[in-house]
Symmetry: C2
Subunit: 195 residues, 2 copies
Amino acid sequence: MASTKRDRLIDTALELFNRDGYRATGIDKILAEAGVAKMTLYNHFGSKDELILAALKRRDARWRDWLRHAVARRAETPHGRLLAVFDALEEWFAQADFQGCMFMRAASEYCGCDHPIHAVAAEHQRLLLAELRDLAAAAGAKRPAKLAREILLLVLGAIVATQVNGPVDAGKAAKKAAEVLIEEALAAPEVGDAA
Amino acid sequence: MASTKRDRLIDTALELFNRDGYRATGIDKILAEAGVAKMTLYNHFGSKDELILAALKRRDARWRDWLRHAVARRAETPHGRLLAVFDALEEWFAQADFQGCMFMRAASEYCGCDHPIHAVAAEHQRLLLAELRDLAAAAGAKRPAKLAREILLLVLGAIVATQVNGPVDAGKAAKKAAEVLIEEALAAPEVGDAA
DNA sequence: GAAGAAATAGACAGACTTGTCTGTTTTTTA
DNA sequence: TAAAAAACAGACAAGTCTGTCTATTTCTTC
């Protein structure tokens, strides 16, 4: 198949970008690891940046898919699933190759807000927020967008705390905070949800 | 003074590291911007990494100082100051040169957990946590360490959300979440605070 | 089996990186 | 004012990086 080499390039790139970062990972390292010739890379992708973009798009699809399933596996009710997000995070944090969120890193390393790579990172975060909003709405939150934003802050915070300071049970702490916020969001009086 | 050049190097480095990142900022750019000769840099610091370390240490001192004052200026009571943290964040987010947290970026770009630069980033986060814990204790939280950890998650989350997605009022959202968590922490029954 | 597409190795260009070295000039100190 | 310390410009080494090119080989497909 024509796409086998392409696939291997993306997967290898993903692994090395996650381990070492984007700028720190040279094309040659990816090629050697993937066992692919340089011209093959430049035939499939026009540049390193385009390889990064392709890798991030695959990562986005896979990661959100993983989260959705990890959450669905753990709980039945929307309320329970909202909390299960943090159990899923803990599972992720415990993986040997956890190096923080690839999209945060991408946004850091390509910090021009108009840079396509930064844009993909921003989009990833918006998509995650949207999924949380659906869960929050299904759970019966009076202001699902507000609750989703709060949950997202805890998720991002837990990821960063773990990346920077190693395993410090940030997932558990975030979950307990989320419990309180969800409780509050379900009990809140009905008002228009503009946020 | 012998330290004038040194100071200028650190400040210039800080500015460029914040704007473009660590690996993306070359020594030569710093030297040109600071108007300092290369040998002067290598006489004061043995390597680029040591310059980064010196810059981050200055940043840590300055940033936490800024936060402490920004918080003290805004509120008198510990409870009020805990919330004022988020108002201070908003002020920071609104600055034209805001590019996220320099320590998160450092931990990202130098992701070997034993790397000295990563260690400085981790230490920064622990020091911030300690200050939040003091505030939480002064505010009368039953479990100040737990509350401080929760506040820290919201702080980190707000920083990342703003860095990745631009100004989306993450500070305000985090503050509202913090209000709920603080409320809960003050009302909680007295138990041993192990966390 | 033959034609065409895809992948290969490896050299190469050109720019960039950190760090070293030298010899000169400026600044500080005594 | 003379000796000592600091900073200077700029060349340089040795390595890295991305991306291009060529000529050969392997795979598909008809």
